[in-house]
Subunit: 284 residues, 2 copies
DNA sequence: CCCTACCGATACCCTGTAGGTATGGATGCC
DNA sequence: GGCATCCATACCTACAGGGTATCGGTAGGG
């Protein structure tokens, strides 16, 4: 039993996600028949049925469901291998850090100067990406470090260091019935409409999708939604909205994450500088 | 830039480990010239120099060193994908647990009956493997769960649940100068010879390598070595050796580990049963 | 100092396989 | 029942991956 080829995994992922050989083949830029044969050969070599096909529909078997998840992990690991080696081969070493907009709660401007003091410091490039994208970029090796948020982000596969714990505040329109309160409980907000953030589970979606903080503030000011967000967002509150602490909302943490078993001195130095900068940071 | 093929990674690993194209080719079962070309093509595609070759010697560049480690992770992930899917496709679901000999500190005989009570229980197969092999078997999907030991084993990439904390005891020949003591400090053993266990870092090796507990006891009884081991080993002490607690040795934990993001009900039930069995276990 | 043994790279050939086109056969729908 | 849809099969082609022979550079022994 020799190892599966990357190409076979890519092909399977395409079919498993499209549940349609024709569309999958198109997405892969090949014709449908070779794809059908490739999947057949894959199943024969693995001695497992991954897909149930009729001439009308394709569906995943339990083994196929497991295999799809495992393929994603494995393919991420392969591209991470490539990217990390390429990065290590650069003559000018560089550190890339991923964050989402406002995802640093103002910490980065304290971390960067502190890091530059370190003898192991190298150039830092901050990659501002879409919300929820940071962990993917860290997983597949496009960046060396990421600023993530617990409990929102999936931290499996990373080493992490907590930088900051943020209490939650409700953002309300100035005229909202609860705007005059000094503190709230989650139960007070039961009847409200909440926005959906990109990367959220779309199942529990109720309100409109929100892309950035400006848009959020706009919707809040109009009274369309109410948002429960980390207190660091206070810095972006407009004059026509108010922020009220929500005492029983689970607090979120800003944390720095990097791939497990990383031995880079530059990464270690950045982590060191970050924890120190966070420890001396003023209350937000 | 399309993805690297598994075969290329396997080829590179062979060369990087042998540091010799001829031997690597032999190990791979192919001729040397195609291997040379494959590595060249790999380097060209990655646009990174991975190996420094002269006509007399081959050595790894920094990028090559990183890539070797990443290749291991990636290849493990690929074979894990295959194995886990195969396992999920079995009509008779089964749980495989890896442990090294005596690695359960007597816990397993309490865990298994407790697990069988669980509604989600399936057949359990215990794989007794070489010391240090458990984490590898868990990483590449040959088993679903493993009994590991902190801080000895590398836990990165796993979710874990601590089952038991074990204090350390020194095993001494009955006639040893310290045999009459009721407790020791590590400093008392400074001048002693310690055995080397399989999977240990061979750098700090001083004494002879030891394969199993019987052999260890033999060497101790002969006065050749002194061992500091978890107290659970007491159960295997022969009459011509004595065990003395070492108060300042870092205590080791027995813990149950499984791959991150596992969603199997059977695994969850086994973890549940294990923690409960461990909580009600008698002192060793 | 030169000859030889060693080792990776190159040149050249061949075969297996990935991919393409055409078409068959099953199934649901109007 | 005719048709559209969709996966599988049949058959062909091209190229990538593998083999053999050999080159070119380097270290070491006599």
């Amino acid at each position: 039993m020799d190892a599966l080829e990357t190409r076979e995994l890519v092909y399977f992922v395409a079919v498993a996600e499209e549940l349609h050989f024709g569309r999958a083949a198109e997405r892969l830029g090949i014709a449908q028949p070779p794809l059908s044969r490739a999947i057949q050969r894959l199943e024969r070599r693995m001695e497992v049925t991954l897909l149930e096909r009729t001439s009308r529909a394709v569906s995943l078997t339990p083994a196929g469901t497991v295999f799809l998840a495992e393929c994603h992990k494995a393919l991420d690991a392969v591209t991470a291998a490539q990217r990390r080696a390429q990065r290590a081969g650069q003559d000018v070493p560089r550190l890339k850090v991923a964050m989402k907009p406002e995802g640093d709660a103002g910490l980065l401007e304290r971390i960067l100067p502190a890091y530059r003091q370190d003898p192991d410091a190298v150039d830092v490039h901050v990659e501002v990406c879409g919300a929820g994208e940071q962990s993917r970029m860290l997983r597949d090796g496009r960046v060396d470090l990421a600023l993530l948020h617990a409990p929102h982000d999936d931290l499996t596969g990373f080493d992490t260091e907590a930088l900051l714990t943020l209490n939650q505040v409700a953002v309300l329109a100035r005229g909202h019935r609860l705007a005059e309160h000094t503190a709230l409980a989650l139960a007070d907000l039961d009847s409200e409409t909440f926005p959906r953030f990109p990367g959220d589970d779309p199942v529990q979606a109720t309100g409109p999708e929100v892309r950035d903080i400006g848009q959020l503030m706009q919707l809040v000011a109009l009274g369309r939604v109410v948002a429960v967000v980390p207190e660091s967002v206070r810095r972006h509150a407009r004059s026509d909205v108010v922020c009220v602490p929500v005492l029983d909302a689970p607090s979120s943490s800003v944390l720095l994450a990097w791939p497990e078993r990383t031995h880079s001195r530059a990464v270690a130095a950045f982590v060191r500088a970050s924890t120190e900068a966070a420890a001396t940071a003023p209350a937000v």
